[in-house]
């Protein structure tokens, strides 16, 4: 009698194969099922990583196939870590990373808090607010270059409307002091809705009964916010910080489109610098070492952060 789909499959299996499978242990069968995934993981992730580490100890250049490849030891690592330009790009990346996360979390949480209150048109506002994150980063970078144009850009007009003066008196992407903020503002405009959505999910996951209990205990709104809302939304906030941190560490398209890394090196983030080394200068060995350093940095920071996140969740 055939009852279940598994029975049907068993019945359909040819006898010679069925005989072979009957002789296999559960562990072996499990390995057979898992093997393709492991093979793919090795081929797509692990092998390239090992190969990159190997290349990082050589002077290999992918555009010079005829040149002899020399083992240079730690020279690439030494050159990267002692290069003042590398540290400048690290500083630019840190500035971008910290300020985008701070602004996006603050504004995103505030928006989520407002949207969590029940009011008419709530859904419509949510849709409008998430619109920027639906756009391509390259498109966003491109149209922010127009917004920042001193002669025709809306941004300069809005700023000078409040501060007075001539809109063409300052250039957001041409000024060494303003350009780092120009990329922070554009990224914040684009990705705050993402943080907002995560925060909104966190806020909506807090049961109303907790607030009702606090009301019974005559806790003020301010106290409810700090003792209920923030602690219960914290794991979501931390998750948003993790996502935005990882994403912004590898930020490339929006900034390239907006400033090209300039003026000078002011907005050259590590990902832009790495791309130039690897695919414009074709210094494959050097850029492999650079990639390894960045990988270790991101992996290390993310690991520490995930541990902290788990501790918060356990509380």
């Amino acid at each position: 009698m055939i009852h279940t789909p598994m029975d049907k499959i068993a019945k359909a299996t040819p006898e010679p194969m069925a005989r072979k499978v009957r002789g296999l242990s559960d562990r072996t069968i499990a390995w057979i099922f898992v093997a393709p995934s492991i093979f793919l993981l090795l081929a797509v992730n692990i092998f390239p990583l090992i190969w990159t580490i190997r290349l990082s100890f050589t002077n290999y250049k992918v555009n010079r196939p005829n040149r002899e490849i020399d083992f240079v030891g730690l020279r690439n690592y030494e050159r990267i870590l002692t290069d003042s330009d590398t540290w400048m790009t690290m500083q630019a990346t840190a500035h971008f990373l910290i300020w985008t996360i701070v602004l996006q979390v603050l504004i995103g949480f505030a928006l989520a808090y407002l949207l969590n209150m029940k009011f008419k048109g709530n859904d419509m506002w949510t849709t409008i607010i998430v619109f920027p994150m639906m756009l391509s980063p390259a498109v966003v970078g491109n149209f922010w270059t127009f917004l920042y144009q001193p002669q025709i850009g809306l941004f300069n007009y809005v700023v000078t409307f409040f501060t007075g003066g001539d809109p063409s008196s300052f250039s957001m992407i041409g000024d060494v002091h303003l350009a780092p903020w120009a990329i922070v503002i554009a990224d914040t405009w684009m990705w705050t809705p993402f943080v907002m959505l995560i925060c909104l999910a966190g806020l909506r996951s807090i049961p109303d009964s907790i607030y009702e209990a606090a009301e019974c205990d005559r806790a003020s709104k301010w106290r409810q916010f700090w003792t209920i809302t923030i602690p219960m939304a914290l794991p979501f906030l931390m998750l948003a910080v993790l996502f935005r941190g990882i994403e912004n560490f590898k930020m490339f398209d929006l900034v390239v489109q907006l400033t090209g890394g300039g003026p000078g090196n002011t907005t050259t983030l590590t990902s832009i610098d790495l791309k130039r080394e690897a695919f414009e200068k074709w210094r494959t060995g050097y850029s492999s070492a650079y990639a390894v350093i960045l990988f270790v940095t991101v992996f290390g920071l993310a690991s520490i952060y995930v541990k902290a996140l788990n501790k918060v969740k356990e509380r």
Binding site: G262, P263, K281
Partner: protein
């Protein structure tokens, strides 16, 4: 008779079949810009005559080098013909991307003596100044200047300029005069609109600011190295004259360019000029047909002049490209056929008519050439004073180092011109050491 007829039909059939079998689908790779459209039009004649089909892969300039060098470095078969930038010739030859064309030229009677010498050196030879050819000069180009002739001719502006500078408002004879003119127009109200002096190259990401600043550096005395010892850089790249040239470019940027023009290259300069924002624009000659045809600034409203002289000579940055056969192509014979067709004087003449800048002497030395277009004489004068950037296999490293150093000083205002050029010497020295050249 019947047998003869059968034989004729059979012969015709065999010829038709063999003809069809040799018809190839060729792909030509180039940048996406106006001349590329002209080439599509021109190539219809080749398709008709040869039976081959032409396909085109055009990539916008900011991504052109990335995309195409990736293609070459990976041994890709996408491109059978490549109109590659002049600086790629060293890498194309040494890394085996391009087919050497000497034997082909000899067999087909194509001689480089028939082309403008600067284009042969710039687009075809590697090593430079040796008779080893890897491309046929395809598109002559050079940085020059476009100006608003209609503004220059206004009596009130002429009078004000004469009073201020003691000379006529006319095409500048020197870089200093050019700066005066640009400063004169900076922030001026013309027909109720605020206009600015000059749109110059300032782009950071690819090659923009280098292609611009060299027009000042060369004329002030910058050299790529000791003429007697090619990779000796110190004292040539960062000479006092070179420092003065870099300071000139920064001053021009600071005092005579539109606000917000900190990352401008060909496209942005064209837009600024055509929209009436600037009195002058620095740009490659390829834009001139488009300027002449433009409703706002064409039809006699614009004039053209070569890069003006500096204290130590008159030079202009070479642009342009040669056409090469990609060594990874399986259709090299058909690709060579295209080059043979393209090199013909009548095709080159038609190329110029369509808006392509021919480098063939028979075209540019024709008595009617100089007056054939308002910019034709300027093109000839400019091609006579060209200098090019490094064409070494490691040109990209050299270029990106210069982009960074120059942008950091001119646009970001960090450090001094001397520090920027000293830094450049260090960067280039490191590259040449890595390359085993020094």
């Amino acid at each position: 008779m019947k047998t003869q007829l059968k034989l004729s039909v059979a012969t015709a059939a065999v010829m038709a079949v063999s003809g069809a079998a040799s018809a190839e689908d060729l792909t030509l790779c180039w940048a996406s810009w106006d001349p590329a459209n002209a080439l599509i039009e021109l190539s219809k004649d080749f398709e008709e005559k040869s039976g081959h089909t032409m396909n085109f892969e055009f990539v916008p300039w900011p991504n052109f080098a990335d995309r195409m060098l990736n293609e070459l470095n990976s041994g890709g078969k996408l491109c059978d013909l490549m109109i590659g930038d002049s600086q790629w010739i060293g890498g194309g030859a040494e890394n085996g991307h391009y087919v050497k064309l000497n034997d082909f030229f000899d067999a087909e009677g194509i001689t480089m003596d028939d082309f403008i010498p600067a284009t042969v050196t710039g687009y075809a030879e590697w090593p430079k100044n040796t008779p080893n050819y890897w491309a046929l000069p395809a598109f002559g180009d050079v940085v020059g200047w476009t100006y608003r002739k209609d503004w220059f001719e206004r009596p009130e502006l002429q009078a004000e300029f004469k009073e201020k500078y003691g000379r006529d408002l006319d095409v500048p004879n020197s870089l200093d005069e050019l700066k005066d003119i640009a400063q004169f127009f900076q922030g001026r109200d013309i027909d109720g609109t605020t206009v600015y002096g000059a749109a110059i190259y300032t782009e950071r990401g690819s090659e923009g600011i280098t292609m611009g600043v060299t027009n000042a550096l060369y004329n002030y005395g910058f050299e790529y190295g000791n003429p007697d010892s090619p990779y000796e850089l110190d004292g040539f790249v960062n000479s006092e004259d070179a420092v003065a040239g870099l300071e000139f470019y920064k001053d021009l940027y600071d005092t005579a360019t539109p606000p917000g023009s900190s990352n401008w290259y060909m496209g942005e300069n064209i837009d600024a000029y055509k929209s009436g924002q600037v009195a002058l624009q620095m740009n490659f000659a390829f834009i001139w047909p488009g300027v002449e045809a433009d409703a706002n600034v064409g039809g006699g409203k614009s004039g053209y002049f070569p890069n003006p002289a500096g204290p130590n000579g008159q030079f202009a940055q070479l642009g342009g490209q040669g056409i090469s056969v990609v060594s990874y192509s399986d259709k090299q014979d058909a690709a060579l056929e295209y080059i043979k067709w393209f090199a013909q004087p009548e095709i080159q003449s038609r190329w110029w008519e369509l808006g392509g800048y021919s480098a063939l002497k028979a075209v540019v030395e024709d008595p009617g050439f100089a007056t054939s277009q308002p910019y034709a004489q300027t093109f000839l004068d400019s091609m006579a004073i060209v200098k090019d950037f490094w064409a070494e296999p490691a040109y990209a490293e050299l270029l990106l180092a210069m982009q960074q150093r120059v942008h950091d000083y001119v646009i970001a205002g960090n450090g001094t011109a001397e520090e920027a050029l000293n830094g450049l010497v260090d960067d280039w020295t490191e590259t040449f050491e890595d390359e085993g050249k020094i």
